[in-house]
């Protein structure tokens, strides 16, 4: 190539790059699936900032409260979002939460297993349930909606029946004493950054109890898990080969299979993901409450799906983001707690939840049209 040709070539490419940057910044932002959820979260915070700004909702204690609720929902919402991007649903998440809870509590209390063994047992059961869900959907080709709806009833029923059979009750208390000195339980039961809160308390920057210790003692474990799950899921979706396979499996199953994506394996692993996330949720709750309850997690699957949808996941698969689901969960958590700080009757929460979802679906539908329609 002559020098002249080279310079023309380089000019051409640099010219392209400039144009690329100009066009794409705004468009990139508009086309991101999490745009709606981030915008919604900002609106929610502005709303409560105005309505409940002076009520203590945004004090350290108040904030940790709504963050804790958001985080718990977020953990399952992120897994649900990844599964939805992969083109499937899991309606058994809520039942899995109840099931995982008693998988920890019954061995630990009635069979004398060490707590950590019980926790590992619960996770092993989650992998089994997820695998079973996945293999059923992949092998039969039935809609996952139906398969996991069946699992919703089976798991909830089994949880209730087994618990009553072994304990004669529907609740298993007495776990709190087992947490101390357990090699694993701390991961699900310990507040972090306590030193920071103690320091903030000593500087009189946050509210104190009468004995001088801060009211908010540290970041709850749910929030740490939530942050870790968001980062991990985003890394997988955006930066790994497996992430590309998730989008491909949900976007066009046949096409993905034709170019060599192991669609079945991808889907099964995502079902395992939702069951494991439900078990993380259950472990945190069981250790926090010190007891397991057979009805735990009831309807959580729908909240998780709602958060994922608000976060930009399409019901048809192939599109969405973990960050979006995280913000979706933050919106629900903030509103469900924030509503206590306002004069609004808390009965209205579900109305809000439904309306939010409707708006999100309409918005996301518009975005999808923008993304897919020809120029």
């Amino acid at each position: 190539m002559s020098d002249k040709a080279k310079s023309i070539e380089s000019k051409k490419t640099s010219g392209q790059d400039e144009r690329l940057k100009e066009v794409s910044k705004l468009r990139l932002l508009l086309n991101r699936p999490e745009l709606g959820a981030v915008g919604g979260a900002i609106l929610v915070f502005i709303f409560f900032g105005i309505v409940a700004g002076d009520t203590g909702m945004f004090s350290a204690y108040g904030a940790l409260n709504f963050l804790d609720v958001s985080a718990n929902l977020g953990i399952i919402a992120i897994a649900a979002a990844m599964l939805m991007i992969g083109g499937e649903f899991d309606l058994s998440i809520g039942s899995m939460i109840g099931f995982a809870g008693i998988c920890i509590a019954i061995p630990a209390i009635y069979w004398g297993w060490p707590l950590w063994v019980s926790i590992i047992f619960a996770f092993a059961m989650a992998v089994l349930v997820g695998y079973f869900n996945g293999i059923l959907v992949v092998r039969t080709g039935l809609p996952s909606f139906i398969v996991t709806l069946a699992m919703l009833f089976i798991l909830r029923g089994a949880t209730l029946a087994i618990t009553r059979l072994i304990t004669g009750r529907t609740q298993v208390p007495g776990l709190r004493v087992l947490i101390e000195n357990d090699p694993i339980a701390w991961m699900f039961a310990t507040d972090t950054f306590k030193w920071l809160f103690t320091w903030l308390g000593s500087m009189n920057l946050i509210a104190l109890r009468t004995d001088g210790t801060p009211l908010a003692t540290g970041i709850p474990p749910s929030v740490m898990w939530f942050i870790a799950a968001t980062l991990f899921a985003t890394w997988i979706l955006m930066k790994t080969r497996y992430g590309n396979w998730i989008f491909a499996s949900g976007g066009d199953k046949n096409g993905a299979t034709n170019v060599g994506v192991p669609v079945g394996r991808v889907k099964i692993s995502l079902f395992i993901g939702t069951a494991v996330a439900a078990t993380i949720f259950a472990t945190i709750q069981v250790l926090d409450a010190g007891s397991a309850d057979t009805m735990r997690g009831n309807l959580k699957e729908l909240e998780a799906i709602a958060a994922a949808v608000v976060g930009g996941c399409l019901l048809t698969g192939g599109y969405g983001s973990a960050i979006g689901a995280a913000f979706g969960a933050l919106i629900f958590g903030t509103v469900s707690m924030g509503i206590f700080y306002t004069d609004v009757d808390t009965d209205w929460f579900k109305v809000f939840l439904g309306a939010m979802m409707l708006i999100a679906v309409v918005f996301n539908n518009y975005i999808r049209k923008r993304v897919t329609e020809s120029k």
Binding site: Q16, R19, L20, V23, S24, L28, N31, K239, T240, R241, G243, N244, W245, F247, A248, G251, D252, N254, G255, A256, N258, V259, G260, V261, L314, G318, Y319, R368, V371, T372, E373, S374, K375
Partner: protein, 263 residues
């Protein structure tokens, strides 16, 4: 270049009692474009799937570069350099150009067990490849859904070539396209062939096939009516050979009849 790149010798395929293909023979050289013509139900899809390794032929043999070959799976066919572009293109509209281009075969970087999708490299290759075929993707992270039908077809073909296709099998690449888009795709097919690929172009549109094909194989009800080189056959003769050719003639006669009565 007398050596054939790929040969199909007396291929037959049966589904129970149904004879889908019977004694089909085709030979292709490097740089040759063979058009496989036939009406619906002539056995085109079965033949493609046999080429792509989805079906195993019940009789006959596939010879690639002089060696007899049996495909046990679509992956085998891919590994032997047979790149099939299906009608649905195996593209996901919601995913970016790059993510589609490398779907299932993502380039990786980083240490073992922590390998990540090398998206910068992938973007660069995808943009470069699309540039080569004259499609200016300003931004390879734009969704495929924003591309035109012809551009999508070219992307799928370009992907097959990039991943080592020596024989390109194109299933109805122009059937869903307008004139302009179709000619863009056909131009690219000719270019690919001139670079040494053998192309099998499956179509029922003689008008698209005739200008670009070097030879023509006509399928009718599972049997090959023969392979003809371009100098031996005219467009009209080809049309006539395809099932439906006679029907078109009949239609013409009937229309004339109607005109006469109306006048």
């Amino acid at each position: 270049m007398s050596e054939n790149l790929i040969e199909f010798n007396n291929i037959s395929k049966f589904f129970g009692k149904v004879i889908a293909l019977k004694d089909v023979t085709m030979k292709l050289k490097k740089g040759e474009i063979m058009c496989l013509l036939g009406d619906n139900g002539a056995g085109k899809s079965t033949l493609i799937k046999t080429l792509a390794g989805v079906h195993k032929p019940d009789e006959g043999e596939i010879v690639i570069e002089g060696e007899k070959t049996v495909f046990d799976s679509p992956k085998d066919a891919l590994d032997m350099g047979i790149g099939t572009v299906y009608q649905d293109l195996a593209l996901v509209p919601l995913m970016s150009v790059t993510r589609n281009f490398f779907m299932g075969r993502e380039p990786l970087k980083g240490p073992p067990f922590l390998k990540t999708f090398d998206i910068e490299k992938a973007n660069q290759i995808a943009a470069e490849r699309m540039g080569q075929i004259g499609i200016d993707v300003r931004d390879p992270s734009q969704a495929v859904g924003t591309m035109s039908g012809g551009e999508r077809q070219c992307l799928a073909i370009s992907r097959a070539i990039y991943f080592g296709a020596k024989v390109l099998v194109l299933d109805e690449p122009t059937s869903a396209l307008g004139v302009h888009q179709a000619s863009m795709v056909l131009k690219y097919v000719v270019k690919a062939a001139s670079q040494g690929l053998a192309v099998i172009l499956i179509t029922h549109n003689v008008h698209h096939a005739y200008p670009v094909g070097n030879s023509f194989t006509v399928l009718n009800r599972g049997k090959s009516l023969g392979t003809f080189s371009k100098k031996d056959i005219s467009r009209e003769e080809l049309l006539g050979m395809m099932a439906g050719g006679e029907e078109l003639d009949k239609l013409e006669v009937e229309l004339e009849e109607m005109n006469r009565i109306n006048n």
